[in-house]
Amino acid sequence: MGKGLSGERSIAGKDEDSLTMAVAAAIDCLGEVDCGTIDGVFFASTTYPFKEKCSASTIAAVLDLRRDVFTIDFANSLRAGTSALKVAINLVKAGSARQILVTAADCRLGAPGSTFEQTFGDGAAALLIGKEDVIADLEDDYSISDEMYDVWRRDIDLYVNSWEDRFIYSCGYLRVVKETASELMRKAGVSPKHVTKAIISAPDMRSSLKLVRSLGFDPKTQLQDPLLNNVGNTGTAQPLMLFVAALEEAKPGDRFLPASYGSGSDAFIFRVKEGIKGLEGKRRGVKAHFRKKKMVPDYATYLKWRKLIRMPEPRVPMSVSYPTATAIWRERNRIYPLHGVKCKVCGTVQYPPQRVCIKCHAKDNFEEVRLCGRKGKLFSYSFEFLKGNVPIGLVNLEGGGRIFVELTDVDAEELKIDMPVELTFRRLDLWREDGIYGYFWKATPIRT
């Protein structure tokens, strides 16, 4: 790699992608919220695992939402996250939906050695839009659309392209976001001094400072830290993630101005409400994730994880079969929302679903139980040698049940019997892919 910039950036794990990160953000966002009144799931990204196949529908399935939930993928612009937010707010305002879950995630690739590779970060954010117990209220919003080649990726490109820096900032980011945010403040009758925090997408710190100054904000007190030094530019997730970071520090009455950039700009003015107090310490949000970070050992590991270098493929055991769409469909309830069964006679929770109770041998007398996202304790573990010593374990779940899963984001030396773990939705490393990405739950240590 060429000359390195200072600071850190976030990297999706080996088994993470935009979809799994969005699921993790959604689970944190929803907490104990009753999901029965969620009428929509929006997912924004420029790096979906699929170009054709709705990832929002997968998120809805994982979260075990109602069948008549409305799902949309918002794509192709770093503005897609805030665009999803805008549409969600308008649908709720119009009465077409009670609650809408908005998620955004990105895992963008800069070419090896490029500045983008160093300044991009992988990440996700989720917001639940509704009318009751709100933590922030929309006062006004404004968007403009702008046609320009500044940062783009063609359908055949792996890495993000850009034109020359001075051009893209002076004619793009700085001009377009300034135009949008100033017009919003004029329209809303809000002057910069009435804004507690400007929460603005930022490609780099210098441009960010230049932009907020040009809007009349004091960068020292009014700029929400764009997290470029420890996370990086997380693309569509960035404006929402910064909004979440701002909400973590917010008090009722604060006025926020989030704005995004990408083929135009969306800008909003939010007022923080009393509801924020009820959430204190109840979500991991951004801060807790800094605490649980793990360093990637070296650059080669990153390249391997992103499959940017080809590794020798493991020898596939004869007995391994291809994943099939039919089997995944048939078992979709036990895969995505991780449905197990609970014996109606003795109450034993079992996964995968059984016909005969392992404990009392009662037959066909079960109710389905949702095990997704549960916490538990590591009962036993071993390693899968053929796949490169991948840790695998048996987890005793809170509320009953024992599940056999892969263990992730953990070093072999850290593993201990009875250590607290939680289930996390991840992409599988399949022996044979056959055009399919497999997803399932794994367990990871709870880091606090």
Partner: protein, 186 residues
């Protein structure tokens, strides 16, 4: 020998390569006929005097117990019950030693020893020819390889050779009359 075993490459800790039976190719066959017709085909038939089968759970995550073979205990009870004998009447046991630990757990499930005493059972030589019961005189799955579907038939064929006194010297169990064969699969 023991050093070679302990030094064999890891497969899934704590099991090393030599703890795991090698999946092999293989074929075996036998002719089953009604007991009263058996002597039409051979002068030295072997009779099935009892059998049992049970299934509980289907992955390691939902085994009824992780330290004992619950389905085997049920199947063993059924088999011994239908034969109207006890485990003490049995001379040879062909046990499914797909891994070292499986055989030890099987002693316990069959009631050859108490739970937790399976290791001691071997140390005392009770599973050897001349011990309490001759276990796997053909070498078992670990010694002979494990051609999956053919394994159970191979076990039965070896028992037949034992009954006929055709098993090679050194691993022949004298005057064996009753044997059991156990197979395990998920």
């Amino acid at each position: 020998m023991l050093r070679m075993f302990l030094k064999s490459p890891g497969v899934a800790p704590p099991l090393n390569l030599f703890d795991c039976s090698a999946l092999t190719d293989g074929a075996a066959g036998m002719v089953l006929v009604p007991a009263e017709d058996a002597r039409k085909y051979t002068d030295t038939p072997m009779y099935i005097i009892g059998s049992g089968q049970a299934s509980v759970g289907n992955t390691i995550g939902n085994l009824a117990s992780i330290t004992e073979w619950v389905p085997l205990k049920i199947a063993a009870r059924e088999a011994l019950g239908s034969a109207k004998i006890t485990i003490d009447n049995i001379d040879i046991a062909e046990l499914h030693d797909c891994f070292t630990i499986s055989e030890i757990m099987e002693y316990e499930a069959f009631g050859l020893c108490e739970k937790g005493k399976g290791g001691k059972f071997i140390e005392e030589g009770q599973s050897q020819i001349g011990g309490k019961i001759a276990v796997n005189p053909r070498g078992g799955l670990l010694g002979c390889g494990h051609p999956l579907g053919a394994t159970a038939i191979l076990q039965a064929l070896d028992i037949m050779q034992q009954f006929r006194g055709e098993a090679p010297r050194g691993r022949l169990v004298d005057n064996a009359e009753i044997a059991l064969a156990h197979n395990l699969c998920n």
